[in-house]
């Protein structure tokens, strides 16, 4: 239920609805999309990445001297969780062909393909397998399957969305493998939404020129992740899953090759050594860093650990200066602050309107442009609606219009998760709009890879949200579910083939010592520790009473 003081604004939204509906049904654009110059202006003035303190120079490591997102720079300019001298490196707990770090979609796909290519695999993951951003994606996955579409057109859309900064070889891999991924998933038993004739139901995503968004209601990620997890669990003889054991440092050998990782058992607080011929980092994104204090859509374990692991060992970062804010995060009810309202709501016709019920932007601009224009509406133009307790500001996303376009029942049928979520708080989105503001959503950049998912370090691969390059500085909807499938699979194959050739030498943690020296030499004196592993939400007044508790970074 919306508070009393919002009712008048809600009436204005209702009042302008018929006119907006008419335009929408006419097939003409409901609002003129921005030109290149207009996009540029709204981005530089309102996107959080362009704030003065959004970026800082990183002082150590392979990308030294580059400007990157400040919170990430701090995370990288931190001490290891361990003292390398404490480790007896002759005591290996597990030996395997392929170690997959991260049990989300990318990790699960990598493990399955590595197994198919003859490798024995260990998946080490922080929470349970499947507890990941992959489980949460709602809207869908892109693939050019329709006759009026092609991988080449998909290529153009990806490039434009990424402001032409994308790495071409990665984009080619992404768009060419896309139809294959859909086929692979369907054969594993994923139930995609379909037309009565069995062809895939496809929709238009923001920044796209063709309908190529494949969905599974608004549980697309869950539909895929549940199947991948089930399939991983079908092969215990080849794929061993170690849960609640995040990797905290890579292992290397004396020849400078990556050779596995050290895991930390969150429950028994033991460190575990895994030696592996190939290592794949698939640890996902960084939403829980709460960059610029934004609320986030990401899962509990999204703390960019893989960046730290890779960077300390010497891997490059790419585009770590850009952050994706999803335009539509919930700001009310306040219990679900940051909750993602899938872009599918807008692809089905919902329109963003201000407190006077005015449509102020084309609903499907690329995400960074759309988000920036929401921020402009709420700040400079002062046409947002303020929430009662947290005092945040948002604009309306007019969802009832969806059923006027697609018919009654369309929301419950195609957006059951959205409907359910709001219904829990007594808001019926078929009748009332949702109050939204941009929310921290996606790590655009990451570890640099090539189209075989190789990093520049021997035996080290990366796939999924932790990698950088494929989306340039802005990702389009549906391309990251695609990303983790395409590159998870590719990483699995490459890692398994590599494992057949590799000879590992004596293990070392010299890279951790070297990194510590670099910190000293750069004059960085800090008590920060990384990887973060989990965020800490203990309120300060409770922390102040935990007198003898010992915090290592955010972990007690």
């Amino acid at each position: 239920m919306y508070p009393e003081y919002m009712q008048e604004s809600l009436k204005l939204v209702e009042k302008t609805r018929p006119e907006r509906l008419k335009k929408s049904l006419s097939g003409e654009k409901v609002f003129t999309p921005m030109t290149d110059a207009e996009r540029g202006e709204v981005l530089t003035k309102f996107h959080p990445d362009y704030k003065a303190d959004a970026r800082q120079k990183i002082r150590i490591g392979p990308n030294r001297g580059e400007n990157i997102t400040s919170e990430v720079a701090d995370l990288l300019e931190s001490h290891s969780r361990i003292n390398p001298d404490d480790f007896d490196l002759s005591r290996v707990d597990y030996d395997t062909d392929v170690l997959v770090i991260g049990g989300g979609g990318g990790g699960a796909g990598a493990a399955l393909l590595a197994r198919e290519n003859g490798a024995k695999v260990i998946i080490a993951t922080k929470l349970r397998i499947g507890d990941s951003n992959s489980m949460m994606s709602q809207g869908g996955v892109q693939a050019s399957v329709n006759p009026n579409d092609s991988p080449a057109i998909h290529y153009l859309d990806v490039l434009g969305g990424g402001h032409f900064d994308n790495k071409p070889d990665l984009v080619r891999a992404l768009v060419t493998d896309a139809p294959l991924v859909i086929k692979w998933l369907e054969e594993l038993g994923v139930m995609f939404d379909k037309n009565p004739d069995g062809t895939m139901l496809t929709m238009l995503g923001g920044g796209c020129s063709r309908k190529r968004m494949h969905s599974a209601r608004d549980y697309t990620g869950a539909a895929i992740m549940r199947v991948l997890r089930d399939e991983v669990k079908n092969h215990p003889e080849d794929i061993q899953v170690i849960e609640f054991s995040p990797a905290i440092e890579l292992l290397m050998d004396e020849g400078g090759q990556v050779a596995g990782a050290i895991l930390y058992n969150l429950e028994t607080e033991e460190y575990i050594m895994v030696r592996a011929k190939s290592t794949i980092i698939a640890t996902g994104g960084f939403g829980r860093l709460h960059i610029k204090e934004f609320a986030t859509t990401n899962h509990y374990g999204a703390t960019a650990d893989g960046l730290v692991l890779g960077y300390r060992a010497g891997a490059n970062l790419l585009y770590m200066d850009s952050v994706q804010y999803h335009p539509t995060g919930a700001v009310y009810p306040e219990q679900i602050l940051g909750f993602l309202i899938t872009e599918k709501v807008r692809t089905m016709g919902a329109q963003p309107v201000n407190k006077f019920g005015e449509l102020f932007v084309f609903p499907l601009e690329p995400r960074d442009v759309e988000s920036s224009s929401f921020i402009r509406e709420c700040t400079e133009r002062g046409k947002g609606i303020t929430t009662p307790h947290t005092g945040r500001v948002g604009i309306w996303l007019d969802s009832p219009i969806i059923e006027l376009i697609h018919g009654k029942g369309a929301i419950q049928k195609q957006l059951p998760a959205m409907y359910r979520q709001y219904n829990r708080f007594d808001i019926d989105i078929t009748k009332e709009p949702m109050l939204v503001f941009p929310t921290l959503h996606y790590q655009n950049g990451g570890l640099e890879i090539n189209d075989k998912c190789e990093t520049k370090l021997p035996n080290l691969y990366a796939a999924g949200e932790i990698s950088g390059g494929v989306h340039g500085r802005n990702r389009l909807m549906g391309n990251s579910v695609l990303d983790y499938n395409v590159f998870g699979r590719r990483a699995g194959i490459a890692a398994a083939l590599n494992a057949k050739e590799v000879k590992l030498g004596k293990l070392t943690l010299n890279h951790v010592k070297r990194y510590e020296r670099e910190l000293q030499e750069a004059g960085i004196h800090t008590d920060r520790i990384s990887p973060m592993l989990l965020p800490n939400y203990t309120p300060p007044e409770v922390r102040a009473r935990q007198l003898t508790a010992h915090y290592e970074g955010t972990l007690r």
Binding site: D131, P236, L534
Partner: protein, 242 residues
Amino acid sequence: MEENKSVMKKEEKTQPQKAKMISLYIMGKKYEVPEGSTIMGALEYAGYQLKRGCGCREGFCGACATVYRTTDDYKIKTGLACQTVVVPNMYLAQIPFFPANKALYDLNELEPSISTFQEVYPETFRCVSCNTCTKACPQDLEVMDYIQALIRGDIAQAADLSFDCIMCGLCAARCPAEIVQYNVAVLARRLYGKYLSKKGEYLKSRLKEIKEHKYDKEIEEFMHMDRESIKKKYYARDIEKM
């Protein structure tokens, strides 16, 4: 315009308010937490650092299965910690792990029929129709109905009814017949997706084209274009109507 002004005026008056505190019992111990918190928020407010029992924090992963009771009722209730708002004097505890049975199978060798379930999950057929599972489901799914659909051999219906299952395990935790509904359901959906759902033609022909490298040349050209030319191409592309 007049209307517009009045909206503005009202809003300026509303100041952020501080939440009231209420008491509740976490695993039997009393704590004060802000009114309106979710159970997960309350646990964290009370000083718990969650490791198990927390995943997506948005109602999609099923990690946060919780059982609770309110003082005015003898009944045990179930819910998701990240989605359930606390009420005064509730008693709650999370279920960190449930040792449920998951069968191992090769989907390629299974048939989409009732016999598969008789073989892989025979306990399904011991359902006593008590409806406890449905009452336990935080997604409000018709859990008993999907189990009953499978007993009748209607895989399509079971797949449809169980589609929004987040595998939280609360149904299985309460089932007197020891059925692991969510694992049975994932098998039903996989069989439906692989064997029973109708397949279209487009995907097949696109895969054939890709195999024949039909688009390689065009993409290759895009890859080597300078920035200005590719930009031009991008802004000139036609956009399909919604």
